[in-house]
Amino acid sequence: MKELQELAAKLLADGAVQVVLGYEEGPRGVRPAFITDPAQAGRLVFDARCVQNLATYLNPRRQHIVQLGKPAVVVKGCDARAIAGLVRERQIARESVVVIAVRCGGVLQRPEENAALSSETTAVRCAGCDAREPRLYDYILGELPPDPPVNASRAEQIAMLEKMTPAQRKGFWDEELSRCILCHACREACPMCFCVQCTAERALPQWIDPSPTLHASRAWQMMRVLHQAGRCVDCLECERACPEDIPLGLFARYISGAVEKRFGYKACDDPAAPAPLGVFSTEDGEEFIR
């Protein structure tokens, strides 16, 4: 994408940023790129294989990236929600990052297969996308493509789970979580999991057992999902990162839907929009606080 490559080269050459976080071709398909040399900007690509949410790399804990200098980051409209979240929660200052938004026509569920977008191949995270025209950006590139085909499989799965009895649902999750090894890849890939010390890693007190047993895996997932309520940007990086193919995206989708139903709030790319569990006002409708 020439527009993107030229912009990146210019920003680096001018010294406006010291590193551009984008996407490049790797041995196994598209992967995150860290371009520090304007002459290397030609490595940047943008297409339907660019699934990663690069906002995760803005986490101030990642010292070896912070050391590179001021970043520009290539985002899709959905990824920009994570940047808004990091700004909203005071993890980064808005002016500390240059946001290069690219108009996106959907990404692939399995980018390594590099198929054409269809209702089967489109990523489940694209269903219900309302960030087609990014609103958080310093630069905006690309033409707005047509709506991506809808992959309804995730919505269907949630509908199926909602129809189940609690016992059936528990059976479903016990089966899926039996593979969880508590590697915490879901947490590390999540842009909104930025705590320096995760609650799960505390020894004093020890809130949940660290050993990968079913009860600990359940406790871990429930805790993480609840900590994400109202904050999760629904990018489904957690699911993509899981080495055991556990459909963690179902939790992400479900909790976002629940927050929308109860508080009329969806994670958005406006840093000033108050998150329901992050802001208190006397006009809040909930009875339990009165």
Binding site: P27, P32, E201, P210, A241
Partner: protein, 351 residues
């Protein structure tokens, strides 16, 4: 290495004759994937499918296992030992990269102190390997000095031929396994067929990655402070998913857990040098502060430290780390870059 012929029926009978047989099985959540799971009949096993998502490691070093249980009493503490003898089992259609990994890890598990939990299971297990047919571009077993036909770690190695399998008996345990089944001597045709299959398999992977050269372990040690480490792991999330799926990663944590106020267990759990808290000291000091240092440790441990201490590379080229990495880290690419640097003879002063 005696070579025998096992028909499909022979193998099915062998499976039926053993109480616990583990083999690759199609995953319930994704039919494209397989997992090593217990089977009841040969028909349950998935053949010619993807490399199982997890390695064989968990059958010898489970993700979590109890080391002892304790009980507080008025007189003090009682400890209950755990048994170190394991149930006999057969692992069928083990991938050669997974079988070889077990012998590699044996070395550290026997380093002065013999880990009876590991060896109890090792001794109780017979491994029947299968010529690999599920290689893809992430595999690099031949670069490590192994290959899709490597007998390393297997007690019997099977190669598919017409009507069944050519079985190479590699160890006395393998001999004992086949002793009760109707395996016949292999025909010359079967032997030739098998050799062709092995050659074809080797061709599919031999160009995936450059071979690890002599002196690479020493170069890594000498270039511990090379600037290349600083930018190698920018994409890495430090999640340790790679360590979970890796057949040779064996690092573990030891923790106590209460079942009640008086009773509990001490467990050993999988852990990974990639996590931030792996080397975090109580004082708050962490010798490996950032992901660059932690990723360097991964490479150094596998390709320099373990070879130096045990004479083995702590990797069998299965490629799982590459397949699961959410950050797009690619070990053959990283190794290729380091090998190129090593060959150029670039040291600390080099670029």
């Amino acid at each position: 290495m005696t070579q025998r012929f096992l028909s499909h029926a022979d193998l099915a009978a062998l499976v039926a004759a053993h109480r616990r047989v583990i083999a690759p099985v199609r995953a319930k959540d994704d039919a494209r994937q397989t997992d090593y799971l217990p089977i009841r009949a040969l028909a349950d096993a998935a053949l010619g499918a993807a490399l199982p998502r997890r390695s064989l490691k968990e059958f010898f070093l489970p993700p979590t296992e109890v080391l002892l249980s304790y009980r507080q009493t008025k007189e003090g503490v009682e400890i209950k030992e755990v048994p170190t003898q394991a149930q006999p089992q057969v692992i069928l259609f083990a991938s050669p990269c997974d079988a070889a990994a077990l012998e590699v890890v044996d070395k550290v598990m026997d380093w002065e102190y013999r880990d009876e939990l590991w060896f109890g299971r090792r001794e109780a297990t017979t491994i029947v390997g299968l010529l690999c047919s599920s290689m893809d571009s992430s595999c690099f077993c031949s670069a490590i000095g192994l290959g899709p036909d490597s007998p390393r770690g297997s007690d019997v190695l099977l190669t598919p031929v017409e009507g069944g399998y050519l079985a190479q008996v590699i160890t006395p345990k393998g001999e004992a396994l086949l002793a009760h089944c109707a395996a016949r001597e292999a025909s010359a045709a079967a032997v030739a067929q098998a050799e062709t299959a092995r050659q074809q398999a080797r061709k599919k992977v031999e160009n995936n990655a450059p071979a690890i050269p002599d002196g690479f372990a020493a170069w890594l040690e000498e270039n511990f402070d090379h600037p290349v480490w600083r930018t190698m792991a920018l994409r890495c999330h430090g999640c340790g998913a790679c360590a979970g799926v890796c057949p040779t990663c064996h690092c573990f944590d030891i923790v106590d857990e209460h079942d009640s106020s008086d009773e509990g267990v001490r467990r050993r759990n999988w852990d990974s040098c990639q996590t931030a808290k792996f080397t975090l000291q109580a004082s708050g000091h962490n010798p490996r502060q950032g992901q660059s240092e932690r990723f360097r440790q991964r490479i150094q441990h596998k390709f320099s430290i373990y070879p130096k201490r045990f004479g083995e590379i702590l990797c069998t080229g299965c490629g799982r780390c590459c397949r699961v990495c959410a950050g797009g880290m690619d070990l053959p690419e990283i190794l290729g870059g380091l090998i190129a640097l090593a060959k150029k003879g670039q040291g600390e002063s080099g670029q």
